[in-house]
């Protein structure tokens, strides 16, 4: 077994990103889609931290710090939108929210 290197961490990040993408495409509940988005953000964070560690450069970790901050703000706004939507339509199911469809 080869010693654990950057490839291993990046491979885990890639697989996690694919899982998040699968969730965004296949699930129908807005909240679960949102959680899958968080998974994808986390996968990007893991890839950035691994790249930062093995390139001996801390700038990647500062980037992850900012990503976490922005993700927190994004979650707050997104969940507020979901609550407003639920008040108006009484549903959290994406197939019921098609008024923008042509």
């Amino acid at each position: 077994m080869t010693p654990v290197g950057p490839q291993h961490f990046l491979a885990v990040a890639a697989m996690l990103f694919c899982l998040g993408l699968l969730g965004v495409i296949m699930r129908r509940n807005v909240l679960v889609i949102y959680m899958s988005l968080e998974l994808m953000l986390n996968a990007a964070n893991l890839a950035l931290v691994a790249a930062s560690r093995y390139n001996d450069n801390l700038n990647g970790q500062v980037m992850v710090f900012f990503i976490i901050t922005v993700a927190a703000a994004e979650v707050a706004v997104g969940l507020a939108i979901i609550v407003a939507l639920y008040r108006k339509r009484q549903t959290a199911h994406v197939e019921d929210l098609t008024s923008l469809k042509l």
């Binding site: 697989m15 899982l19 509940n29 964070n45 691994a50 707050a76």
Partner: protein
């Protein structure tokens, strides 16, 4: 020892991530949120293995402590019942899996190709060095992010008013 820990945390992360997305037993969003906590905590373990101690702490504090709690609050507020089984469209599943496989192939090839000339030394992301970097090179983005948080807060207050005018 570190290699074993890596495999344990990686397996835990991927397994819990899968259970967030496609839990075969329950389709309740609360279960997904709980597995999201587990995913985030095991990912913090991976951060510690990468010597990013500060980010591991922030990951647990912000994600597991704030974001998932917010998710659970909203689930409680909306009183979302378990997703009832609707007819799953075969077209959706096929396109979903195809696109995920395509993205996965691109990512794996790029990982294979891009591993050359790594330096010998490796960065350690402890609080002191990260804080120094954050308050010297990155002061302006840091301040702008605080403004962003303020804007997000005001936006949330406006959005959650009873009457949207």
């Amino acid at each position: 020892m570190q290699d074993i820990l890596f495999y344990v945390f990686a397996l835990l992360t991927l397994l819990c991530g899968f259970l967030v997305v496609a839990n075969p037993v329950s389709r309740n969003p609360v279960t997904s949120a709980m597995f999201l906590v587990l995913t985030i905590v095991s990912m913090a373990g991976l951060f510690v293995l990468l010597h990013a101690y500060f980010l591991a702490a922030v990951q647990i504090l912000v994600y597991a402590g704030a974001v998932v709690v917010l998710f659970l609050f909203i689930i409680m507020l909306l009183d979302v019942k378990a997703e009832e089984r609707r007819k799953v469209k075969v077209f959706g599943i096929v396109t979903g899996i195809l696109s995920v496989v395509a993205v996965g192939c691109i990512l794996i090839t790029s990982i294979r190709e891009g591993m050359a000339n790594l330096p010998r030394t490796q960065a350690v992301g402890d609080t002191i060095s990260l804080g120094k970097l954050l308050f010297t090179n990155y002061v302006l983005p840091f301040e702008i992010v605080s403004v962003l948080l303020l804007v997000a807060m005001i936006g949330v207050i406006l959005l959650s008013k009873k009457e949207l005018k």
